[in-house]
Every structure is written in C-alpha cells, then in structure tokens.
C-alpha cells in the first residue's frame, strides 16, 4: 500500500510541476463557470416568468439547474480527463523512466493503482473547485442537498471510469497525443453508444447498448437516486479498465 501511495504522490506531483494540473483545473473551472452562469440566468428568467403567473408551482432548482449542470460537467470531463491520463504511461515509456519502475521491487498492480489514484486525486481537485459556485446556490437558495451529493458521487464514479480507460490506452502507446486522442474517441463512444439502439423498440440489442452507455447510468445519480445496479456498473467498469491495463502492461513487457 505504501508503494501505491508513493507512486500516486509522484504522479500528482508531476501534474503540479508541469502546467497540466493548472491547465486542466483552470479549463474545468472556466467551463463549469460558463455552464453555471448560463443555467443560472436561465432559471432566473424562468422563475421571473413563473412569478408573474399566479398559482404556478415554484421552480425546483435541483431539477432545472443542478441536474443539467451535472450533465454538462460530464461533457467537460469527456474532454479534460484524457488530458490527465494520456501521459501516465506514454511519457514514462518515452523517457525511459518506466525502467526504474519495472526494475524496482513493485508489482505491476501497485504501479497501476498508484497512477490511477494520482489521476483520481487530481480529478477530485477539479470537482472540488466546482463546489465553490455550488455553495452559492446553497447560500442564496434552498436546493436539496441529497441529489447534489449523489450527483457528485455519480460524477466521481464516471470520472474514475474514464481514468481507468485512459490508463489502459496510455499503457499501450509511447505517444501522448495518440493516447489522448484515442481515449477521447473511446470515451465519446461510450457516451453515445446508446444512440445506436432505438430505446423505443425495447429490443435486446438496444437494451444492451443502453446498458453500456456511461451516460444512462449517470442519469439516476443526478436525479438523486443511488441505484446499486449503477454502482455495480461503474465499479465493474473501473475494475475491468485496471485489469486490462495490467494485461496491457504485461503484454508490452513480453513484446518488449
């Protein structure tokens, strides 16, 4: 375990000594801010209209603002997370530092978990930044806390899944840019995969495609529902990603 933490710490450090961490956190904060302001002005407009109509039900800020905002945050993650993971293995392979790790008394899994943990920590910091504008909503309004927390849980799980895919792809190449682009493409595929099926038809294939979609599983979290099946989906996604990364690292060893 201490080895895992050592690697995680080193990864996190390397994000912060290079511009990556600042660029990624900065981009994330700016984009989140844009979505926040636009949805805030939307809800202000809607509630102003509602206020003019007598007897209309009050606007639910969770439903009309926070939920779409979480959805948009997922889209930002789609772009930003490949930038975090693309270098993890690719850079070490290119610079040869991977030999230090491979010849040290560490297991492959310790290295993978360390890198995963490092990236997840940076991602958690990104999400942490969004808590600042969120807290204003609680200061000036009265949103429900539970759906916000479950939404954050969903985002964390989705982000960790993205990171595990990113690690897998980074472990298979020496080129950071290639790793980043393939990761983005694969994540996008998982995002839109349910579009391939026709949900109205209810056929098995469209059910399977809908099950594979990272987006469909996220929806309940943003509504405030923590469903075990969604938890299982994300946790198996992460486990499979890390397991395949271990396989990939091993096969790269064999191939030299």
């Amino acid at each position: 375990m201490s080895n895992v933490l050592t690697i995680a710490q080193k990864e996190l450090r390397s994000y912060f000594v290079s511009p990556i961490a600042y660029v990624v956190i900065g981009l994330f904060a700016v984009l989140f801010g844009v979505f926040f302001i636009s949805s805030l002005s939307f809800i202000l407009r809607v509630s102003l209209q509602a206020g003019m109509m007598q007897g209309a039900p009050p606007i639910n800020i969770n439903e009309y603002m926070i939920r779409p905002l979480f959805g948009n945050t997922g889209v930002i993650m789609l772009f930003v997370l490949p930038m975090i993971t693309m270098r993890s293995y690719a850079e070490e392979k290119r610079s040869g530092t991977i030999e230090l790790l491979l010849s040290s008394p560490l297991t492959d899994m310790q290295i993978i978990l360390g890198k995963f943990l490092g990236a997840v920590t940076l991602f958690a910091m990104m999400l942490g930044v969004t808590a600042i504008p969120m807290s204003f909503l609680f200061y000036y309004g009265e949103p429900e806390l539970a759906p916000v927390l479950s939404g954050y849980l969903g985002l964390s799980l989705m982000g960790a899944s993205f990171i595990s895919i990113g690690l897998l792809i980074s472990s298979a190449t020496k080129n950071q840019v290639v790793a980043g682009m393939i990761t983005f493409a694969v994540l996008l595929l998982f995002w839109v995969i349910s579009w391939l099926g026709d949900p109205a038809s209810g056929s098995t294939s469209s059910q399977v495609l809908a099950y594979l979609s990272v987006l469909d599983h996220f929806d309940d979290f943003s509504k405030g529902v923590i469903d075990t099946s969604h938890l299982v989906y994300y946790l198996s996604f992460i486990t499979l990603g890390l397991f395949l990364t271990a396989k990939s690292v091993d096969s790269v060893r064999w191939r030299g």
């Binding site: 030999e99 491979l102 010849s103 008394p105 297991t107 064999w254």
Partner: protein, 359 residues
C-alpha cells in the same frame, strides 16, 4: 580472493554464486535477440558484458533486472528467480539503464528519495542512505538541481546513485560510461571499481579498454550468442594462437625478411612500414616459444640497428574482432595493444588493498 573482501553485512549472502543465467532466450516474433545465453557471476566480481551494438546486451540486462521476461530460460539473482519471485530479486538489484531513468522535473534529492521509497528503503534509513549515495557518486553539487537540467555526466551519476542507493547485492549497469567525457569516464570507472567487492557488478559496454581496465571476467556476445566467457588475461593468452614480436630495425636498405625467416622458431614475418631505411616488422612464432634472443642475435650479428623489440600480446580488440567476425582478421599489432595487462594488475592490486582494509 575478491570474495573475502566482502564486508560482513547481514543482508549479504555468504555463498559465492550471485548471478546465474541459465539458457536465456528472447524472441521478438521471428527475431531472436538473445539466443541460449548462460553464464555465472560470483560474489564481488565485475563482469564485463561485451559485444557490438545490437548484440543483445541491453536485452539480457533488461531480462536480468526483471524489466522484460525471457522467452525461455531462467535467471537467478541473489538466490531468487527473477520471474518466480520478482519482488524479492528486484530488492537486491540496482539497475542503471542505458538512458538514466530520471524524472526531469524532480530535483536530484527528490528523485533519490522517490527511488529509495520504491526500492523499499526504510524511512528511518532513507536520509542517511541518500546521503551516502550522493557522496559516493559525487553529485552533492547538484543535489538541489532539477534532473532535467543536468549535464550528461551528472545524469549518468545520478542514475548510478539511484542504482546503489538501496545497497543492492547486484548492480547492473548498461553502458555506464556512454556519452561521458574522458575525465568523467575515468572517474566513473574508478567509482565502479570502488563499488566492486561490496557489490557484484555486471556492466555492458562496447568499449574494449573499459573491459580490460575494469572487469575480472568478460562475456563476449555477438548476435545473441555467447562467444566467450573468461578473464581478460585468459582470453588474451587462450586466443592468441601464436607469439608475436614487434621489431624496428635499421637495415640500411637491406631486406631483413629472409634473414628473420631463417631464425629458428620463427614461422612468419610481416613487414608493415618502412621509412628512411627503418623497417617495422612483426614475427610470429609457435605459442610458448620465446624467440626474442635468437631474433635479436640475428639482427645484431648483421650489424643492423635494433631500435625496438618487444613481444606483443593479443589485445581484446583483436580477440573481439576474431570472435565477432567470421573471417579471421590479422592482429593489427598497434602500439597500444598490450595496455590490457598492466591495468589488470593495477586493478588486482587495488582489490588486494581493499581486502586488507576490510580485514
């Protein structure tokens, strides 16, 4: 002799065989990088791994350090099979790859701290061991500089500091002097020699004098095969099939070759150059036969000037060429050929001196 010089350290193994490579083969698809290599290294020895570029040196070293698995065969380092018990084996190995594996954005001290942590150095001993490694490799001047900003020589040394940090039984150094300037090369060789005894060292190189100056045992590999395993001295005498004498004779224009050919015991005479009547010649005679007196006599009795006469040992260059090329190459017999033996005896003296200190 060297084995006795090992300090009594409780982590140190007492038996003398530290590295055992058994029939290692590595294939990359149809390409065979290393083909059925076997050799052994005893405790405290410096083994030179010699071969032309692309012979399989780096592949063998990466297999030994557990970075890549072999297609076939076994490697046992410090009593542990590198692939059955990789973590135990790797704890006892220090590895300096061809390009020192430095993180450019870490300072030297941070880097060594990281290396110490992942190689399992206890936190209580960490600072002290890092200081020792910094001291041994003399990188103290740059300890707070970023690794990415170091010169090639310092990078190499920081890499070496990383390798010796956890005081491993076995050090595996891939071309430790590559890219250094001559002064740094000498310093690095001295450093490596000073590490022997405490550590068993395998170093690879394609620079021949390095082997004759630093190593007690040489493994020559070519195209993935081991072509010779021996001490530099034994290789020189074993493979030198004949005794060579180098002569410089002032004959005043007369051709000395028939005369020398007539000397008892001389098999062939070759003339390499001539200027102002001075001939440079080489005579070959059967192995073990010393014909120096007879040759000198033949020259002097004719009234020629004998300007130089010395027996030439076959250099590692010659052996290397002979072993790694198909067609036999005539020994070039240049003036530097016999540097191997004096430096060998120097290193032997050093070992004796160190041994005395330890006891």
């Amino acid at each position: 002799m060297v084995e006795d010089g090992i300090p009594t350290n409780n982590t140190r193994r007492k038996d003398s065989l530290v590295i055992e490579v058994q029939h290692i083969t590595k294939r990359y698809g149809p390409l065979i990088a290393v083909n059925d290599i076997s050799f052994r290294v005893e405790s405290g020895q410096i083994l030179g791994f010699l071969g032309p570029n692309g012979a399989g040196k780096t592949t063998t070293m990466r297999i030994l350090t557990g970075c890549i698995p072999p297609t076939d065969g076994r490697a046992i380092v410090a009593g542990f099979d590198v692939f059955e018990q990789p973590v135990e084996a790797k704890r006892r190995i220090g590895y300096l790859p061809e390009t020192p594996p430095l993180y450019p954005d870490m300072s030297v001290r941070e880097y060594l701290t990281f290396a110490a942590r992942i190689s399992g150095v206890k936190s209580s001993e960490r600072a002290a061991k890092i200081d020792v490694a910094i001291d041994r490799t003399s990188v103290g001047d740059v300890a707070d500089r970023h690794c990415g900003k170091l010169s090639k020589g310092y990078r190499q040394r920081v890499g070496l500091a990383q390798a010796v940090l956890h005081n491993p039984e076995v050090l595996i150094l891939d071309e430790p002097t590559a890219g250094l300037d001559p002064k740094q090369i000498i310093e690095t060789r001295e450093l490596i020699r000073s590490l022997a005894g405490d550590h068993t060292i395998i170093l690879s190189t394609h620079i021949l004098p390095e082997v004759s100056q630093t190593c007690e045992k040489v493994v020559i590999i070519d195209k993935g095969h081991v072509v010779a395993v021996d001490t530099p001295d034994n290789l020189t005498s074993r493979l030198g099939g004949s005794e060579t004498i180098r002569l410089e004779v002032d004959t005043g224009g007369v051709d000395p070759i028939p005369v020398l050919q007539g000397v008892d015991g001389v098999t062939t005479v070759t003339s390499s150059e001539e200027h102002h009547g001075v001939r440079v010649l080489e005579t070959q005679s059967a192995k073990g036969a010393d014909v120096r007196r007879e040759v000198a006599n033949a020259i002097v009795t004719r009234g020629w000037g004998l300007l130089e006469l010395r027996s030439v040992k076959m250099s590692l260059e010659d052996i290397f060429l002979e072993l790694t090329t198909q067609d036999t190459v005539d020994p070039p017999g240049n003036a530097e050929t016999d540097t191997a033996s004096p430096s060998e005896s120097v290193s032997a003296h050093e070992h004796e001196a160190r041994e005395a200190v330890h006891e």
